[in-house]
Amino acid sequence: MSSINEIQDEIVSEFEILGDDRESTIFYIMELGGNLEDFPVEEQKEDNIIKGCQSKVWLIADENDGKVHFKADSNTDITKGLISLLIRVLNDRTPEEIIHADLNFINRIGMGSIIGSQRSNGLASMIKQMKLYAIAFQTKLNA
């Protein structure tokens, strides 16, 4: 399995191929949402909604053999694409790796200017929630 930084490098080069065309970039992000694992309908509940996102984003996580596995869903396709990128980088890692991950691909892609300030705030909330899950699992594993 590639490291967090290797996957980030991969993502950055994929976005570089798209060039400066904003519309193609957004289409691409929307397509990425198709990579998300199926999300259980019964988990689309208030408790799993990430606070701070304008669109609805549901995130759940479980831990297996010391690694955290995320599943997510959203009611908007662009948001699905964004969270699928985060999951690609952080999925099936140890809590330690997730907590300390420096997600530099977001700035390297220039994601802020692609998705605008509202969605950037949402993206930050998603990262925070994923790290909070990791902290919770780490506490549990160390108990």
Binding site: M30, Q54, T76
Partner: protein
């Protein structure tokens, strides 16, 4: 000035820019319109030459500023054909105007068990102030339903009117759908049961001829920034006898006649409702915006905007997955829609990638969205400076976006 859209565009500096490498197409006019050079120049000129506090100043600058300020009041009077300029009160905006009426007229004349009628298509700013009033007084809010095409259910409205009705507060043109309501008929019907009527003109005043005497509304409220004027400025029109009977809204300077620690007497209208130093610069600049609209004429403006709307309807009609929301017979230039299988926010962001500015979401009309069973819409709203070529580019963008989920 003849209606020459290129000449008009020349007056709006903000339109001449690129967004994400594409020429800006500004279709968010129902949220706020852009400002012509005359308005910007009036703002600068005031601060460069005339800045001073108005009324009561014993010097030349205060005199000039006062005169320009009061000139705007007279222009607004003419703009809506009020009987006298004292019936024009400057506020922060439509929202404040409605709150002013709710907290003064409402507190004094509406009590327990009385009824206030609003409609399903109201902006939150014409819902929440009345809910607050009802909570404080025990009055009851009654809601006019909306048909599937976005028109008000007039029969149901008539059923709601009773001797308990004290106020009808209704939007003239819907911000979310564009529907123009049959307000003259509604005002007459409300008056027949002895109710007063507040007309929310935030979305109608830039498109339609307004004559408050002919309409016979008791209050009319609107905002300067949707009329090519500055932000932070609104108007409350009220009939003299009603304004005089209302208690003041805010206490402070300007609104008093005499203050002693024993008793304060209030100033006459309009000053009774304009406590504190008003938004002088923006009021003065608003005069230039009214002059701009007058120079084109509402008739020519409406014709141009109607043409844009029907062109947009025509070009989007056959796009697979395109779902217009609000298809009333009488509309201002608002095209509200969804694309099958897509979230409005995503559609808006993709149009933005093409330099096209639209609004997405519930447009501060959540009860209306609920009525249609949707979370929100994409809203394109057109103004005097928009062109058919811009409509073509938007339709092309919508077609491309719709294809993603509607092959």
């Amino acid at each position: 000035m003849n209606f020459d859209v290129n000449q008009i565009r020349g007056l709006f500096p903000v339109l001449h820019q690129e967004v994400h490498g594409k020429p800006l197409i500004y279709f968010d006019n129902a949220a706020t319109t852009q400002k012509p050079k005359q308005v910007l120049e009036a703002l600068t000129s005031y601060y460069e030459k005339d800045n001073s506090n108005i009324h009561r100043g014993a010097h030349a600058l205060a005199d000039r500023a006062t005169q320009y300020f009061e000139n705007t009041r007279e222009s607004v009077r003419r703009f809506i054909n009020a009987k006298e300029s004292a019936e024009i009160i400057f506020t922060k905006g439509t929202t404040e105007s409605i709150n002013l009426v709710a907290q003064t007229f409402g507190r004094k004349f509406i009590g327990k068990g009385d009824e206030i009628i609003i409609s399903t298509m109201e902006h939150h700013s014409n819902i929440v102030p009345w809910q607050m009033l009802c909570e404080a007084t025990g009055a009851v809010l009654k809601i006019i339903p909306v048909h599937e095409n976005g028109e008000l259910d007039f029969q149901e409205f008539e059923k709601l009117l009773t001797s308990k009705t004290k106020l009808l507060s209704v939007v003239h043109a819907s911000n979310a759908l564009g529907t123009i309501n049959p307000v003259k008929k509604m005002i007459d019907a409300a008056h027949a049961v002895g109710a007063k009527v507040l007309l929310d003109g935030a979305q109608s005043t830039s498109h339609l001829e307004i004559d408050v005497v002919e309409l016979d509304c008791d209050f009319m409220v609107f905002s300067a920034h949707k009329l090519y004027g500055p932000t932070g400025l609104g108007v409350l029109y009220g009939k003299r006898e009603i304004l005089e009977a209302m208690p003041p809204f805010l206490g402070g300077g300007e609104m008093i006649k005499e203050v002693t620690f024993e008793k304060t007497t209030y100033n006459d209208i309009p000053f009774k409702f304009e406590a504190g130093t008003p938004n002088i610069a923006d009021v003065i600049a608003f005069d230039a915006a009214i002059e701009f609209i007058d120079s084109l004429g509402k008739k020519a403006i409406k014709e141009h905007e109607d043409e844009l709307l029907s062109y947009a309807n025509e070009l989007t009609a056959d796009i697979k997955g395109f779902q217009p929301i609000g298809t009333a017979k009488q509309k201002v230039s608002v095209l509200s829609f969804n694309i099958n299988g897509m979230h409005p926010f995503d559609v808006g962001q993709m149009l933005d990638a093409r330099g096209i500015a639209v609004r997405t979401g519930h447009h501060c009309t959540q009860p209306l969205m609920k009525r249609f069973g949707i979370e929100g819409t994409v809203r394109a709203s057109f103004a005097v400076y928009n062109t058919k070529s811009e409509i073509e580019q938007m339709a092309e963008g919508i077609a491309r976006i719709a294809k993603i989920k509607n092959k």
